[in-house]
């Protein structure tokens, strides 16, 4: 199995290598805790303590703390590019895509807040433990480029927030909500609201096909008062933060889909080396080899696309270029990782369909990722509307 190519060896620093080792130790721990007993989604009660552990070792981003530098979507990506974060998420996803999505969600919310600090940190909270965050934006509704959604999402009028935002992803129960809101002048504001906040309700979205380790919430604001101190950015700075959050969200999803599919293919390959049919292991049958070959090809293509700009610092991206690349990755991940997982499942025949073997969970997870924060048609249209690359 190809190992994660977070970055060319010569460009990977010792700190980055160490962090990926930490991630691997963590994923091994997570695997033991989540999947100690047969269950289609693992022991979801273990997710919260695992996230606490992830926070302790610095995997969770935090805009207010030094530890957030190296967490997923931490400030290291500003200059070093998304490569390290994408590698972290890819590693995490090999154990559980849902868990990876929670770590990713925290990072996206932190990125939306844009390293602006967190003035409202609870006095008693440990500096070592970042607050759990969820980002309230609805891509592609959050994009200024989608005219269909000009009126959708959350709107800030004066000092009052109104509207709703669907499918916010959170690492467990969030302590605060990072909101991307439209302003009266057609621009953007980034707001950090504590949870609970007057007039704001967080409503679970209900049972999903996959990513069940992550919490999905609808954020509903009804005349929610906002203080000046809670507004982290306005105008161009806010738009930059929104675009980065949206793009990084899609990039992270693609990395999680890729990691999920890589593990599915690895498991399928192991299975085909031991399962005998027709007097030989099924790995010798051209029908099975073709399934795996197609999956390997799909993953190689996705890997190439995802690493294309992965070392380019986020600060150095033009907004539209970043969005274009992110959309390409997310749409491709839906198709390629989705197809790779289904090919992997097929190699196991009836066993692949049973919860016991775990590949069916990976299919459910990549299906969720295929449409998370925007279906492919929406993304493709939005990409077209951006125009050609300069």
């Amino acid at each position: 199995m190809t190992t994660v190519a977070a970055a060319p060896a010569e460009e990977t620093t010792q700190a980055e290598r160490s962090l990926l080792e930490v991630v691997d130790h963590f994923t091994a721990l997570a695997g033991r805790r989540l999947f100690a007993e047969e269950s289609p989604d693992g022991d979801l009660a273990a997710v919260d303590p695992l996230l606490s552990r992830a926070a302790e070792i610095g995997l969770l981003a935090d805009p207010a703390a030094e530890s957030g530098t190296w967490g997923a979507w931490g400030t290291h990506a500003d200059d070093g590019g998304p490569a390290l974060t994408l590698a972290m998420l890819r590693h995490l996803a090999r154990t559980c895509a849902g868990l990876a999505t929670t770590v990713h969600a925290q990072g996206i919310a932190a990125r939306l807040l844009g390293g602006t600090g967190s003035a409202d940190r609870d006095a008693g909270a440990s500096e070592q433990t970042p607050r759990r965050l969820t980002a309230a934006f609805t891509p592609p509704a959050g994009l200024p480029i989608d005219p269909r959604n000009a009126a959708a999402g959350l709107r800030l009028s004066g000092s009052v927030l109104t509207g709703d935002c669907r499918y916010s992803v959170a690492p467990g129960t969030p302590d605060a909500v990072a909101v991307a809101a439209r302003t009266e002048d057609g621009g953007w504001a980034v707001i950090e609201l504590p949870q609970p906040a007057a007039g704001m309700t967080l409503v679970p979205t209900g049972l999903r096909i996959g990513l069940r380790a992550a919490t999905f919430l609808d954020v509903r604001c009804e005349e929610t008062p906002v203080t000046d101190g809670q507004i982290r950015a306005r105008g161009a700075a806010a738009r930059t933060a929104v675009v980065q959050a949206v793009a990084c969200d899609w990039l992270g999803q693609a990395a999680i889909a890729l990691g999920t599919a890589e593990q599915a293919v690895a498991e399928a390959r192991s299975y085909t080396a031991t399962r005998v049919q027709g007097g030989t292991t099924i790995g010798h049958h051209p029908a099975v080899r073709l399934l795996l070959a197609r999956a390997e090809h799909d993953l190689a293509v996705l890997d190439a696309l995802l690493t294309r700009h992965a070392h380019r610092g986020l600060r150095g991206f033009e907004a539209d270029d970043l969005l274009r690349w992110a959309m390409d990755c997310r749409v491709a991940a839906g198709e390629l990782a989705g197809e790779a997982v289904t090919q992997a499942l097929q190699t196991l025949g009836g066993y692949g369909y049973m919860d016991e073997y775990g590949i069916s969970k990976r299919l459910r997870d990549v299906t969720s990722l295929r449409v998370l924060h925007g279906g492919p048609d929406q993304l493709l249209l939005a990409r077209h509307d951006l125009g050609e690359e300069a």
Binding site: Y167, Q277, G349, Y353, M354, L372
Partner: protein, 441 residues
């Protein structure tokens, strides 16, 4: 939508031209039903009404908690409605006499689509009975038909549900037992040994739909001799009926699976089970041909299950687009949404056309049946996936009614032989004819 201008223009056509121009506002379902012979059209309506009435209210809970789902009330309702006795005509069954020979596969396919449109899992739980009884009928063995099929059919017709299950798959032999190439070397473990007065069966079967509740199973075992020759599926397989309650016959766990969850997939254990000679179906060692022919017949309705799944996804997606607004307009009014929906409807129509054409092949043909099963299974997954994409985040949620169709449809690429195996079955079937391959001795 037919505009007033078009109607006005059409009214100016000559009478014959007007007669040849279909301007009726009729659903596609009604249009396609109208192409069927009257008796089949009537059945299709009855299947649809039954599915909506009996499966609809049960579908969500049965999918969410299959272990807590009790299939008996639905089985009883299906029996009362005549759905479980359609393999025979009156007075034993409910198949119209005129349909028995040439249309029974069509009936089964129409039923499979309508049930699966609402819930493929609940539908499969009912359809499995037809599969379980198929060896009895297709063996052509008058004794087996008289002894087993007639009473089963009569009881079901009277509203007393009795279920049969078909048992071929083993832990170490799945596709092997559905493929000529693999059959010779399949590691089949279920054997039958001749003893005075009958046979003793030992072994294990897995993934048996209906196995948890079946009153009897049609089980395939290799007949073994005392001189220790390694049994071969394609030489030694023999079909037997084993009734529930027979000493040594037990069912094990029902698997937790991705979709079609309302239908159980159960382990069956045969621990030196004695069955009298009268429980053998057909001749000794006729099991391989019998098994292959059962699959020839069953793969068409399995294709129809896939049609139902795709239709269910399409209808759920359409309903979502009708009832959801975006930017102040119904989602349905956006052209890109219409394009995607058109794809879903078109694909489903193409699948159905293939099933209906396949169901006209009597006797059922391996190449055609495998092609139908493969195409429809693959397209059901594609349609369901596209429907999820169309609904975006909502599509991944259970409430959208679409994600279940993807989970359900994925099984259609696996059971009744994987789609890879079915592709090879098409080639095998047409090797010497369409492909012009060398004759195999």
């Amino acid at each position: 939508m037919i505009t007033a201008e078009l109607r006005h223009s059409a009214a100016l056509l000559a009478p014959l031209g007007r007669a040849l121009y279909d301007l009726d506002a009729t659903t596609l379902w009604e249009r396609e039903t109208a192409t069927l012979p009257r008796s089949l059209a009537r059945r299709r309506r009855a299947y649809r009404d039954f599915a909506r009435r009996e499966l609809g209210p049960r579908a969500a809970a049965a999918d969410l908690d299959p272990a807590g789902y009790d299939p008996r009330p639905l089985l009883a309702a299906a029996a009362r409605a005549g759905l479980q006795s359609e393999m025979l005509p009156a007075p034993f069954g409910t198949m119209p006499l005129g349909s028995l020979l040439r249309r029974s596969l069509f009936h089964e396919s129409l039923k499979a689509e309508e049930l699966s449109t609402v819930c493929a899992g609940l539908g499969l739980g009912l359809l499995a009975h037809g599969l379980g009884t198929a060896p009895l009928l297709l063996s052509g063995d008058p004794t087996a038909i008289r002894r087993w099929l007639l009473p089963l059919s009569r009881d079901n017709r009277a509203g007393r549900p009795r279920l049969a299950a078909f048992a071929i798959t083993e832990p170490a032999a799945g596709s092997d037992v559905e493929d000529s190439e693999g059959a010779g070397s399949a590691r089949i473990g279920t054997t039958a040994r001749r003893v005075p007065g009958g046979y003793r069966i030992s072994g294990q079967k897995v993934f048996i739909t209906g196995g948890a509740h079946a009153d009897l199973v049609t089980v395939f075992a290799s007949l073994v001799e005392d001189h220790g020759t390694r049994p071969r599926v394609d030489r030694d397989w023999t079909c037997f009926v084993v009734e529930r309650g027979t000493p040594g016959f037990t069912s094990g766990r029902s698997e937790h699976k991705l979709g079609q969850r309302a239908a159980d997939a159960t382990e069956l254990f045969f621990d030196d089970v004695f069955v009298p000679e009268s429980h053998r179906v057909g001749a000794e060692r006729s099991g391989w041909a019998l098994n292959r022919n059962v699959l020839n017949y069953s793969r068409i309705p399995v294709g129809a299950i896939a049609v139902g799944i795709a239709r269910g996804a399409t209808e759920a997606a359409t309903e979502h687009c009708r009832s959801t607004t975006l930017g102040g307009r119904p989602l349905l009014s956006y052209q890109e949404v219409q394009l995607a929906l058109a794809d879903l409807w078109t694909e489903t129509m193409a699948m159905r056309a293939m099933v209906w054409q396949g169901a006209r092949h009597v006797p059922a043909t391996q190449g055609v049946s495998s092609a139908v099963k493969t195409f429809c299974g693959d397209r059901a997954v594609a349609v369901s996936t596209r429907a999820i994409e169309l609904l975006a985040d909502h599509g991944a949620h259970t409430a959208g009614g679409v994600e279940k169709r993807l989970r359900d449809g994925r099984l259609n690429q696996i059971y009744e032989g994987t789609n890879q195996l079915n592709r090879l079955a098409l080639i095998e079937s047409q090797w010497e004819t369409d492909l012009g391959g060398p004759r195999v001795a």
